[in-house]
Symmetry: C2
Subunit: 191 residues, 2 copies
DNA sequence: TATAAAAACGAACGTTCGTACTTTTTTGAG
DNA sequence: CTCAAAAAAGTACGAACGTTCGTTTTTATA
């Protein structure tokens, strides 16, 4: 890997941390340059626009997310086992990012801001929901679940969102007890 | 009501629309002045700082929210009836605001931005969750529900969050069918 | 080691924003 | 109608931001 790509990866790693801790719009080229020890224009040269930087941050986040949440289950043969492990990794991912998920915050941040970033965020969320649906549907086909797979995913994702918000206001604890409680009730209801 | 207060109310109404359609931070003094037909400094004089403007927008939103969601149930004597009507009004509020809730977006926007605004947003959300819990608890005391009232509210609020996000990506329809489906399953599970 | 390309730098520009002043206009009570 | 107070306007400033451009330094290959 050449020097350029190497620096870029390092910038993206830092940028993801900053964007997760604040927001994708609060990500500033000058600020990011200071943190990474580069000059403003030196950093800028890697992306040629702020929007490109933001898009690349999202793609970088996606690659980490895939490694942390999707990859671990790739060799499992039971869909139900896949599903349960995925949810566990999903929570771990969220915690590893400092108790906030960039995909959730960007969804809210860009839901009224048309453009390339919104398009990407929306597409990724749709893909993720479809992936979960597929998992649930396969589990159903294998006789481990019954009912509407999409409705199941709707409720599962809702709980994921709710858990994050409510940890923030102290209505949910850091171990996501209420989430897990609701999850087992949800699973029970669908089997 | 003097001229000053009258203008201020009009500014706040417009500001709430803008903040709901974009975000509380994207609310701009110059932009808001243009929309309301005032000069930048003329509008500024009503608030003396952007943060004050934002705080007053939140309080204005709260007053509307109270009228639309809490007031309608004030004369009901069955807690369960109150609860169901509240949820219905809650959905209507969300729709009346152009399918986005300023309390939800500000919660995400300011969850990592300490200050007076974050404090207010957090307090209001806590109050709302407590209010819902109180409703559920009273319904339980009246024999119309059983189980953990807080857990019930956790799941209810999660569904509210989820419904909004998933309307956005087309995983939920505008009539909130999945929300209502999940809601009745939730209620059934708790009675 | 020579050398062209890649990477990084430094300074500047145009714009947007919040805010501070002063001045003008409008309001409403006596 | 008067006139002080309130409301609104006009102008200006400083800071932060994304971006451009010319230059310098570093990298990596032949």
């Amino acid at each position: 890997m050449g020097k350029g790509k190497q620096t870029k990866q390092q910038i993206l790693a830092t940028a993801l941390n900053v964007a997760t801790a604040t927001s994708l719009n609060d990500l500033t080229i000058g600020g990011l340059a200071t943190i990474t020890g580069l000059s403003k224009s030196g950093l800028f040269g890697h992306f040629n626009s702020k929007e490109n930087l933001q898009l690349e941050v999202l793609e970088y986040a996606q690659s980490i997310f895939t490694d942390a949440v999707i990859q671990p289950t790739v060799n499992m043969n039971s869909a139900m086992e896949k599903l349960l492990t995925t949810v566990e990794c999903w929570l771990n991912w969220y915690r590893s990012q400092g108790s906030s998920c960039i995909f959730v915050s960007t969804s809210v941040e860009f839901d009224d801001q048309p453009g390339a970033i919104q398009d990407l965020v929306k597409k990724r969320l749709q893909q993720w929901l479809e992936y979960l649906t597929q998992l649930a549907q396969t589990a159903a086909n294998e006789g481990q679940m019954k009912g509407d797979a999409r409705q199941f995913v709707f409720e599962l994702y809702s709980l994921y969102l709710g858990s994050q918000q409510m940890v923030w206001v102290g209505f949910e604890d850091e171990q996501h007890t209420r989430f897990k409680c609701a999850l087992s009730a949800l699973i029970q209801r669908y089997q």
